[in-house]
């Protein structure tokens, strides 16, 4: 029922949008807008339809305001207004003209609510209304919206839009939208076959979904056959990409593991401290991010996109600083008793968790994603989310930096000397207390950096660290303790294996299999992937 209404109204909208607006219609607009002031979703849907029927471009901002949840009902007179936050109350505007209507109390207006169905209607209506927009981005999303709504009535306007379109990419999008719509009509077989071809060329999931509906619906056999063939082709293509996609997932999971483990590769791998508080350092990094973002939210909301960049040094310094305090206060008394570091750091991790719980509360804290880390893009048949991409890049950058620091600087040399033989290093003139503190601080600081990245994909809660500590130890040990390359390869291997197992075995069994793999692997290589060999180790 609603479908037919929508189809009608879009048809009308499209027809009219093409014509110069008529004054007669314009006169009705305020009344129609007023008609939006209902609380029943079905009635609202009808009101939207009526409004869209006018085809007046002036309607678009009204519908956009409704979509964004800015449209309100003034309780005093039932007027439909746009309300913008102003202090503790609202500033009101006319939705059509944008004219200011003065301020209002907080409770003087009531938001006009929409649900998913209405969101779809709005998307379709706006799509049709904005196909001719001067803004290419708007036109592109309008074409996508029509593609999704697949409204046959859109064909005509699309034809016109296509004719006028200068941007090749947008034209393709429009053609696809048109093809989608054609498949939803009783158009002649030939036309449908051509449409299927266009959709098949799109070759993605959305195209697949569309073709599947063709197969499910009643259609001539030839069309169905063509659709099936196209589906086969798309599925084949997608299957090929699926392997690559899995590889990407593996890489991205691997880099999360790498990030989580890399700080531990310093504190545990290099220094030999069985650092059970490592996860809490990651957590501290995540909470530092939260704090930085709170500052931005409070003082510079416009620069929010930079918050993560600021959070990086902050997290490094905070976590590193806490690491240094821990080293000076506790760990330094325990060199030569590595097993006892387990006990002390376990106690520390309990205390740090509780401290964070007391300070920030037990529940999750919100860490937002900057715009450059949200969303996804398509690369061939791959869907790559920006967030993950940056995490991969970041993980490798941290790894490279650490590698250089440990292998190429005299500080790195001193770290290794101290960890291999503290007394002798001291006798060689190396300031061991300083080196110890800085090394532990470095490992903790890197864990803090990891926390910044992980805050983007996981809970920021006092339990954050607990989720990573076991995986981190697995990675470091699997790769071979004391070998940074091992940590890198270990993390990526485990990530990839996990992701290739998951589709077949399921997430739970997949994880079990990975663990069993680790156990068996260690039998083959009792000192990890990149084992140190020779008498130096066996002694």
């Amino acid at each position: 029922m609603r479908c037919t209404i929508r189809r009608l109204l879009i048809a009308a909208a499209l027809l009219i949008a093409a014509l110069p607006p008529l004054a007669a219609y314009a006169a009705d607009l305020p009344a129609l807008v007023r008609g939006l002031g209902v609380s029943n979703y079905d009635e609202l849907d009808k009101a939207i339809a009526k409004l869209a029927e006018t085809g007046d471009p002036a309607v678009a901002p009204v519908l956009e305001a409704l979509q964004a949840g800015d449209l309100n009902l003034r309780k005093s007179d039932g007027a439909v207004v746009v309300a913008k936050r102003a202090g503790s109350g609202w500033d009101l505007f006319d939705p059509l003209t944008g004219a200011a209507l003065g301020p209002a109390e907080r409770s003087a207006v009531e938001r006009i609510r929409i649900n998913n169905a209405l969101r779809r209607s709005l998307g379709a209506a706006l799509g049709a209304l904005t196909l001719m927009s001067p803004d290419p981005a708007v036109r592109r999303s309008a074409a996508e919206a029509v593609f999704k709504s697949r409204d046959p009535a859109g064909i005509e306007i699309l034809d016109r839009a296509i004719a006028k379109e200068t941007d090749a990419g947008i034209r393709t999008a429009m053609q696809r939208a048109r093809a989608a719509a054609v498949l939803n009509t009783d158009a002649p077989e030939a036309e449908k076959l051509a449409a299927i071809e266009i959709i098949a060329a799109r070759g993605d999931r959305d195209g697949l979904g569309l073709l599947n509906t063709v197969v499910n619906a009643t259609a001539p056999d030839a069309v169905k056959a063509a659709a099936r063939e196209a589906i086969g082709a798309i599925e084949h293509r997608l299957a090929l990409w699926a392997a690559a996609q899995n590889l990407w997932y593996g890489l991205s999971l691997g880099s999360v593991l790498l990030l989580a483990a890399i700080g531990l590769a310093v504190t545990f791998g290099v220094m030999g401290v069985i650092n059970m508080a490592h996860g809490e350092m990651v957590m501290i990094g995540a909470y530092s991010t939260f704090m930085v973002q709170e500052m931005f939210r409070a003082y510079a909301p416009g620069l929010f996109d930079l918050s993560i960049l600021v959070a990086l040094p902050v997290a490094f310094v905070v976590a590193g600083g806490i690491g240094i305090i821990i080293e000076r206060g506790i760990i330094r008394w325990l060199y030569g008793r590595p097993l006892e570091t387990l006990l002390a750091t376990w106690g520390l991790s309990l205390m740090l968790q509780q401290a964070v719980r007391s300070l920030f509360g037990p529940s999750n804290r919100e860490v937002g994603a900057p715009s450059w880390m949200s969303g996804a893009f398509e690369l061939g048949g791959l869907t790559i989310t920006y967030g993950r991409l940056w995490i991969v890049v970041f993980a490798f950058a941290v790894f490279a930096a650490l590698l250089v620091a440990l292998r190429r600087t005299s500080f790195g040399l001193q770290i290794r000397a101290v960890t291999q033989n503290r007394r002798m290093a001291s006798a060689m003139g190396i300031r061991t207390p300083q080196v110890d503190a800085l090394t532990f601080g470095l490992g903790s600081g890197i864990a803090g950096l990891a926390g910044v990245a992980l805050s983007q994909i996981d809970n920021v809660s006092p339990n954050l660290g607990q989720g990573y500590i076991i995986d981190s130890f697995m990675v470091v040990v699997f790769g071979g303790v004391g070998n940074l390359w091992g940590t890198l390869v270990g993390a990526l291997t485990l990530g990839t294996i996990n992701k290739f197992l998951e589709p077949y075995a399921g997430a739970v069994l997949g994880k079990i299999l990975v663990l069993i793999f680790i156990i068996l692997f260690i039998q083959r290589r009792p000192r990890g992937l990149f084992a140190l060999r020779g008498r130096a180790v066996e002694a």
Binding site: N115, N116, L253, R357, S363, S461
Partner: protein, 403 residues
């Protein structure tokens, strides 16, 4: 003895602290409020807080401690079935009272436990009905954490959907471990499943911490509610507080209460709660409401019985009805479950839910699901003379199948 002690058995540390700490606070507030009103039976209430630390045997130990050492009159606590199952024998042995405030899989009815959270029929089934009717969903992904609540709920839903004519190939069931953090493949799978040309929805029984990464991944992979809506049973205002909800607008949750319910009772409650926690942004959620209802029911029952003696309270509480926060009354039924309205909400960009549907009347919690073959013949009625938690209407005997 001039106070009446009330035990609060919620984890304040460990994995469950994230959810349960709030419930402890709400209980403290309720006790304080009640004392302002003069207490119960002329005595002040005294809250005894312990921390079972998300450790199941410790739950049992602490329950025993509360009942024997502190001699509390009632215990409000637990979250997740395993904690409840762990303390259940203790409450039965020592004849204590437990108010359990969280939604669960059903399939249980104990004389000593009052289930103020939702049974599957008070949450899952109405949610699925809503999607099928309003969103015309034909294909279903049942995604859950691998433990008993999702397993049972999905079993029930599967049976229910099939009874509605949904074909098996249109149902995808997926389980993940606790705390699952990497959702890339699964979200991609959902996308794939949703591209079969039929309207698809996800019914999520994903638990606890795993939700945040799940929703973050949904947002990143651009799964919009208008394409593939996700309806969740374990995601409330508290969970959303940790996520940027802008990409998630329109995804759904089914509960018996939302903070956005606009009734005077609720507004009053929110105000008190924010004042009590000294945090004007502090949110409320469904299990909190369950505790409010449960606590008020207990107070009323104690006053009715004139004593806190468990047996008397167990008898007097059945039929007690107290206002809930969504503008109606909830009543304790003979099966120790309560009546509740079912609300469906859509996520908003401010971390709240817009209520898009509400059952016209109250739904009675159904402890033994009608959609599971072995429980459909069972009923529970704790009133004399039946006084049985698993009465088999076929055989007419108490005790399951009765062999």
């Amino acid at each position: 003895q001039d106070t009446i002690k009330v035990g609060i058995l919620h984890s304040l540390s460990g994995t469950m602290a994230i959810s349960e700490t709030t419930l402890k606070d709400v209980m403290l507030m309720l006790v304080e409020e009640q004392n302002k009103k003069g207490g119960v039976l002329g005595k002040k209430l005294e809250a005894v807080v312990v921390d079972p630390a998300s450790n199941w045997p410790l739950f049992a130990e602490k329950a025993r401690e509360l009942l024997t050492k502190d001699k509390v009159a009632a215990v409000f606590g637990c979250w997740t079935s395993v904690s409840r199952k762990s303390v259940l024998p203790v409450f039965e042995e020592l004849n204590g009272l437990l108010f359990y405030p969280v939604q669960y899989e059903g399939e249980e009815s104990s004389r000593n436990v009052f289930y103020t959270g939702a049974a599957p029929n008070q949450q899952a089934i109405p949610a699925v009905d809503y999607l099928a009717e309003k969103e015309k969903v034909q294909r279903w992904v049942l995604a859950g954490t691998d433990y008993v609540y999702p397993r049972t709920t999905n079993k029930i839903l599967e049976a229910y959907l099939k009874s509605k004519g949904v074909k098996s190939e249109d149902i995808l069931i997926n389980y993940t471990p606790f705390g699952h953090a990497d959702w890339q493949s699964i979200v991609a799978d959902i996308k794939k499943f949703g591209s079969a040309g039929k309207k698809t929805a996800v019914v999520s029984t994903i638990n606890g911490d795993a939700n945040v990464p799940f929703y973050k991944e949904l947002g990143n992979q651009g799964i919009k509610a208008t394409d593939i809506p996700v309806v969740a049973f374990s995601v409330g205002e508290e969970e959303l507080a940790g996520i940027d909800t802008k990409p998630l607008i329109g995804h759904l949750a089914a509960w018996n209460y939302f903070q956005s319910v606009s009734t005077p009772e609720n507004e009053d409650f929110i105000k008190k709660w924010q004042a009590f926690t000294k945090n004007p942004k502090r949110v409320t959620n469904d299990p909190m409401e369950a505790h409010v209802i449960g606590f008020n029911m207990w107070v009323k029952a104690v006053e009715k019985a004139g004593t806190t003696a468990p047996d008397a309270v167990i008898d007097s509480i059945i039929g007690v009805s107290v206002p809930n926060l969504s503008g109606g009354y909830s009543a304790m039924m003979p099966n120790h479950h309560i009546t509740k309205p079912v609300l469906i909400g859509e996520v908003q960009d401010n971390g709240q839910f817009d209520i898009v549907s509400k059952t016209p009347g109250l739904v009675v919690g159904d402890e033994w699901s009608d959609y599971l073959p072995d429980s459909k013949d069972l009923i529970s009625d704790w009133r004399a003379p039946m006084s049985c938690g698993n009465f088999n209407v076929k055989t007419g005997k108490c005790g399951g199948k009765g062999t």
